[in-house]
Amino acid sequence: MSQESHPTTPEGAPHPEPFQPKIVAFVCNWCTYAGADLAGTSRLKMAANTRLIRLPCTGRIDPLFITKAFEQGADGVIVSGCHPADCHYATGNLHARRRFAVYRELMAFLGIDLRRLVFSWVSASEGRKWADLVNETVRELNALGPRNAYPAVDREGDQ
């Protein structure tokens, strides 16, 4: 990935700040949120680029939330919840798994780079896995550079 990691303004002048990807993380209350909490209390070093959004279950994550995150300028999205068979509501994550599989396929077909859309299972005891996931995603998004397509969508039609 030798892509330019510094964004440019619409005029093409280099941006003064180095690129920091904005990542929206949709996490379930019972596993990944607790896992992320564990990563924090264990004082694991991790990038501060994620904005965590806590939901009851991955089954509560309407794919429209993810669309909306991209629309509002996220460079990447992480979706994470309980491992299969670990769901607080028994099968929420299994329903979600199918929905995400289809959503991923659709987004790829519409031209969203799938490296920007990360799905993961992180349990309440996997603080290390969460920290690694965030760091790795930030590293990948840094290499990919800012997601310009949606900001371009924002500007489209403006005079």
Binding site: T67, K68, E105, G111, F119, W121
Partner: protein, 292 residues
């Protein structure tokens, strides 16, 4: 054609149904849906390759004016019968509320007129993907066995493969170009027998998830959502694309997701209302390669 009229006339005069919904030809040679309530009028009914409409959309519970007419019979092609099965599966309809007159289909045109010629120019692209041209589970099956439709100029699967060979930036540019033309008339939703939420998310304004203005930002959110809500439910009748006033190739997205559902979950939109829809169902051993 004679058979449909006979069946319709018999159902109406026998008092089994209050109305029959089928197809008729208008003065310009275009085919349009026809409600028949009088047995003497049954002679208006026709069936030929111009009968492209999916009449199952009239059965939606929201169409109270249709329900108010009483018990009805519906003329269905195989694709329409799959849509009826979709409504039965999702409990939008009771099977005994309805008489189905199935017609054997030899493929339909892209447009409902002006003539009934079916060749590689005029044939609907979706007919090439049709798994079964004879409707099953109907009360009356009419019409002769017809030969398969000619191969059309438009090959959806090839177009999908061509798109997938592009880079994701090029694909995004392709779809942005199409979606930026969307005027958000929601004709794709209104014409779809399976787009049947009582209140559509696109109409909600508090909170507003999908911007209502015809701007690419909201257009993308709308088209992504529409496609996703129909994944594994779409019967491939192609009405959304036909209704689209700005010719967005929606059939490509629908065919892509149907193909994926088939590949991944061995799901085929069928006429069996007992078969679960793949979304809203799961298996504990579903593929999760993509989940880290």
């Amino acid at each position: 054609m004679k058979e449909i009229r006979e069946v319709a006339s018999a159902l109406l005069s026998g008092g089994q149904v209050d109305w029959v919904l089928g197809y008729e030809e208008d003065a310009k040679g275009l085919v349009k849906p026809a409600f028949i309530t009088d047995p003497a009028q049954a002679a208006r009914l026709i069936f030929d390759p111009r009968c492209v409409h999916n009449l199952a959309v009239y059965l939606l519970p929201g169409r109270r004016h249709v329900r108010a007419l009483g018990r009805g019979a519906l003329v269905v092609k195989a694709c329409d019968a799959r849509a009826v099965a979709g409504l039965l599966r999702e409990h939008q309809l009771q099977r005994d509320e309805l008489v189905l007159i199935g017609v054997r289909c030899g493929g339909v045109r892209q447009d409902p007129g002006p003539d009934a010629v079916l060749n590689e120019e005029s044939v609907a692209a979706r007919c090439a993907l049709c798994p079964e041209r004879t409707p099953q589970r109907v009360d009356h099956l009419v019409g002769p066995e017809l030969p398969p439709p000619p191969a059309g100029n438009r090959d959806l699967l090839r177009e999908i493969a061509e798109l997938e060979a592009l880079t994701s930036e090029a694909r995004f540019a392709f779809w942005s170009k199409h979606f930026s033309r969307c005027v958000r008339c929601h004709a794709c939703r209104q014409v779809c027998p399976l787009c049947n939420c009582t209140r559509c998310i696109a109409d909600k304004s508090q909170p507003q998830f999908i911007e209502a203005a015809p701007h690419l930002r909201g257009n993308l959110a709308w088209n992504i959502t529409r496609a996703l809500h129909l994944a594994g439910r779409c019967v491939g009748c192609g009405e959304c694309e036909r209704a689209c006033p700005v010719d967005i190739p929606l059939a490509l997205i629908n065919a892509k997701l149907s193909h994926f559902m088939h590949e991944r979950y061995a799901h085929e939109a069928s006429e069996d209302p007992e078969q679960p829809s793949p979304i809203g169902d799961f298996r504990s051993d579903d593929d999760q390669e993509f989940i880290r």
